[in-house]
Symmetry: T
């Protein structure tokens, strides 16, 4: 396999639905400006609370993109 | 914004359904005795296994509450 | 309670569906060869991306098994 | 010296002035409800930004209090 | 098993005898005000020295208590 | 609140005056090219020494910026 | 010295007596199935509490065994 | 020395030869688009295995670049 | 891609030549008893010194193997 | 640049004034016995509390000194 | 209290008896050459195994000494 | 084996050639003033970059020396 180089971009996705949705949104947003997204790593899971209920899920991910 | 002070309370929620449900139960329980819950941070994900299947999801979270 | 000894086995489950499914698959696979699985600890959450979308969820877990 | 027991309380102080002021506010707030505060440990330094400038300093500290 | 919620309380036990005694004192002190203590986790081991000898053992533990 | 996505940019600010000034310079520099800076997290504190005195303060910060 | 290879096996020993006894039990159990045990590293110290007293000590250790 | 600001860019270099070559490739690639590269920090060492042999070395590095 | 499960095996390779050689020896040894080795992660780099010179390189690696 | 070797000395500075002053005192003290101090890294920030107020700032720093 | 400076010295004590004895030996050895030892912090617990039994306890400690 | 005590000395070796050479230089320098060097542990790998190329390798190591 060729000796590729990848950059890691750290993004925080947020969602009122779930951590999964927050991660998907983070990846989608990176895909708008970067090509060749290859993998992601979850760095942190947090969220917001209102009136005693979880109202926002926040996922910090590193997204690995092959540099052309 | 005013110079508020927050305390962090560490709780472990458990659920036979999912990590999400375990986190929600943890937050709800804190809301029974504390006011002004603002955010949470996931600290640890674990669980119990019986007969080769996951039977309990356990989520340790720090819950941030504004001190009035 | 008796002074049992447990071993921890580190496995990575993968799933095209969700992190939960990946964890379940990891535990099931360990259950094929080990007895007395007792608990698991999530060590890492990662995944693969294709065409700007998450296509695989990968969960590294430690599975604790009682040694008979 | 007597075999004392201490509890650690984790609080987040905030200030528009400085990290030092945020830490002082966190300690003062704990002192309103707890006695015998003995030491603190800085756990995290963060802050808020508005219009490209730091507008709030946030310090997470563990405060150690002797339990009587 | 029911979907219980646990809180973790961080305490530092001290003893002139041993780390074990310090941990036992920490747990006993928590038991004076909390019910349903279930487990503990050792977070830190330190101590004081006088005249070139260890004169105090200090154990920081998280104590998990089921919230009723 | 809308499901925003944020990117984190890691920068090192330096100052001959103080850690606070170094952090402020780091944030200002990011603000020259990025919009919607929201928060920062201190990652590392270091510095240079000359002739036995601290001559430069260096602060590594993650700056969180909302992606439009 | 020859270029040996070692594997590390992670086990959790438990004891109603002490952490030392729990570690000894963990090592003994590994010695039942593995040869050439060389060293151990303590990874985690935890335990169970009943009626406000420590009733079980749990030690997680990595045991290094030379592979023949 | 002037109060410069640096950004850190995280990249993964790969090589079929060695970790050193992988690091060199990572730095070279960053140099194609960034100026004033000053230092690097090794964050992670991994690699791929085929037919029981190491076939690719992967080095994650943070590259520090002075922002003009 | 199929939902494979991988196990991670932690081994320590040693070599009088270099860290690279130590890692290669560790992977080779795992390949003697396991099939489908896929990747490795460097966990720790250490070594022995005799007469003021490095005489042994020791590399702890996690080797990921697909479970059939 | 010559292939210098540096040693790191870990010291704790204390001050009733500020963390900055505590760090400066730590560096000054090292400079009394060591030459060629080059840089410092902040390892830990703690302090003492009396009567509900911070009365001492304690900074643990690694000081890097070139070995001649 | 005066603005003292402390240095931390990292030592590894060993004992065929117990971790406590190993820590005591480490502190005693430091006391032979340093004055004003004030505290210690346990950094690591390891040991040697022979014939399937623990034969040596090894404790790495940081010893804090006030610099006069 | 006798109950020896070891001290750990943290040094940073630098080399324009390789990380291995940097580590060797670090160990050699310690051997000029200390006796009975026994082992080393790699703590950090960094380096300098000039004109887009790695020009210096820097290895931080802990060197363990038996205290006589």
């Amino acid at each position: 396999m060729a000796d590729a180089v990848y950059k890691k971009i750290q993004v925080v996705g947020t969602s009122s639905e779930s951590f999964s949705d927050a991660a998907a949104k983070a990846v989608s947003k990176v895909a708008e400006t970067e090509k060749n997204l290859s993998w992601f790593e979850v760095v942190e899971l947090r969220g917001a609370i209102s009136d005693g209920k979880i109202t926002q899920y926040q996922v910090t991910v590193n997204v690995g993109c092959r540099v052309s």
